[in-house]
Symmetry: C2
């Protein structure tokens, strides 16, 4: 607590001066941004012939982040990119965000400067404008709500509902790392609480922790689709875990799916850390959230192109009546159920997992 | 606490079922709304030739509302209309909102149904679509963050920066009521805490309390401007208090202002309640927030039209160098300063106030 009292108090600045101070380093990047921070509302010029997408996510202290092990720079960055991830998942390009924060008096101006530094890094990296927001006092902790706006030609947009039968099911990057990173940080926090003189041991966990604290939205996949002239038939980002997202696409597209566990992309460090934590790496890849990879479907003829793009084809879509099924290399079948993973866990896939 | 444990727990539904349950009664009203709740992002079709405005506000329990005296239906309604007010203040028409809530386990499904009932009432009354959002657990209390989107022809938009010298300064409706309502409810809450068997005395305070709990954005003024072919040169809504908003317009438009206190519109009940509370009614009208009236400037030739519209002309703009000044009927002048009202209070205007 004492450490947090250093620096300038929020009340010494007042709301308007604080907003002005925090947002002064955000010159508009887009011609579409007509008016940014500082009026009743921001004004954007929608590009002719394009549709607009809008998405919003809230991050609450103690639920989505723990400031014991999350720096405010990382938190600001992450609060932006989780929203950009939703825009890319529509196959649209994000152009603007609004940021609303609720903040208690225990925070100092310098800490909010760090938060906005992370927001600014994300804005510059992905070319989006901060166009507005709201800053408010809160009784407890920190709340960050970000809204992201993007644009796309109507025919380019990808919905969850567009998958057809016998299409490839694909995943960018790799899965399960962020969840392993979270477990490692939670473990070290508990050790630290008991023995404050012991330094946290984070060597060998850089990748999984980095995936949790600094997720990257798949702007590159969005760009590769455009360059290759590919439009996924259905797409969404993986924030809640692959199995949950698969069920969303199956439900909304009225298809089933067959997923091959040995094809799931799992990084070597994720694999090793999961085993250290006595977790089934496959369970982690299927259910760990917050990786912000893209899950999408494409027609079967794109098999080679998917290889070229470096994405993993993890299975294919089937008729709705065939359900959502995991098929092991021995031919065993398990129903995918986001709420019923206990049954799956008992069967244990750890005997014969392969890295994709 | 016991009462709040009645009803269905949030965990019994889960996040996705909860969102689906709460948003099922929101059929899209606008052709522009292509996809609402249920994908990674909502999709809107911007009307051709129009610009988009976007605004966001956060309401936090214990800061912006007290559930001791605020019903969740009213709270849902208010969380929407405070954002619509910002859109009307741009002289634009709102078409869509997103709603993000953080909610602790002490809330029951039935309470969130009430919250969304209020949101639905506001959506229908002002013709906007609920197109997306996010629902999250929170450790403490309730957080509501709403983003509103609207459209207008570029030439119709009103900014804070457009006022010129020698224009009329106008205010819709009346001022100070919401602040008086807040003070009455706080007073009754303290009495109730000490003597729980005493019923709160709210008779005679219906207007001021109603203004706090059920504010109405000035959609009617937006419509009247359009019908009369009037475009305010500058406009904003009065959420933080008239003096604060006047200073915003003066700063952004680089003008000064002269305000006549006897012209400030104050309702009879506001006037009476302010005096009961030993508050200067003028102080309340100048500094009480949350009335959600519109403050705007128009060229002097619109004087008669302002009368016809029922808005109050409270002063006029001057050269920037003349500052922001309050001029009493005796010709005394006081500098308007949102941060320096103690000096103003000491001079006391209660001797000779008139209702506009």
């Amino acid at each position: 607590m004492e450490e947090q009292q250093k620096g300038q108090s929020l009340s010494s600045l007042g709301e308007f001066a604080l907003i002005e101070h925090l947002t002064k380093d955000f010159p508009p990047l887009h011609a579409e941004t007509k008016v940014g921070v500082g009026d009743d509302a921001a004004v954007l010029q929608p590009p002719e012939g394009e549709q607009m997408v809008v998405t919003t996510d809230i991050l609450l202290e103690g639920i989505h982040f723990n400031l014991t092990y999350t720096s405010l720079v990382h938190l600001g960055y992450k609060s932006v990119v989780v929203n950009l991830s939703d825009v890319y998942a529509m196959n649209a390009r994000p152009t603007a965000i609004t940021v609303t924060i609720g903040v208690s008096q225990r925070f100092r101006v310098e800490q909010l400067e760090d938060l906005y530094k992370g927001i600014r890094i994300a804005c510059r990296e992905f070319g989006v404008d901060l166009v507005g927001g709201d800053t408010s006092a809160s009784l407890t902790g920190l709340t960050i709500s970000v809204t992201a706006i993007g644009f796309a030609k109507p025919e380019a947009l990808c919905y969850r509902s567009g998958a057809k039968v016998n299409e490839l099911i694909c995943v960018t990057g790799n899965l399960g790392a962020a969840y392993c990173g979270l477990r490692i940080l939670e473990l070290e926090t508990r050790v630290f609480a008991k023995q404050p003189t012991v330094q946290p041991k984070l060597e060998g966990y850089e990748f999984v922790i980095g995936r949790l604290l600094r997720p990257r939205p798949r702007q590159d996949a969005y760009q590769q689709f455009a360059a290759a002239g590919i439009k996924p038939s259905a797409m969404m980002d993986i924030s809640d875990g692959l199995s949950s997202e698969l069920l969303h696409i199956c439900k909304d597209s009225h298809v089933g799916c067959r997923i091959y566990p040995e094809r799931l992309p799992i990084d070597q460090e994720t694999y090793r850390v999961a085993e250290e934590l006595h977790l089934d790496p496959l369970f982690v890849a299927m259910n760990g959230g917050e990786d912000y990879e893209l899950l999408f479907t494409v027609p079967a003829e794109y098999n080679q192109k998917m290889d070229d793009m470096g994405v993993s084809v993890i299975g294919y879509t089937t008729a709705y009546e065939q359900g959502a099924v995991l098929v092991t290399s021995e031919g065993k079948e398990y129903t995918i159920d986001a709420h019923g993973w206990q049954a799956f866990k008992e069967e244990s896939f750890t005997e014969n997992p392969k890295e994709a």
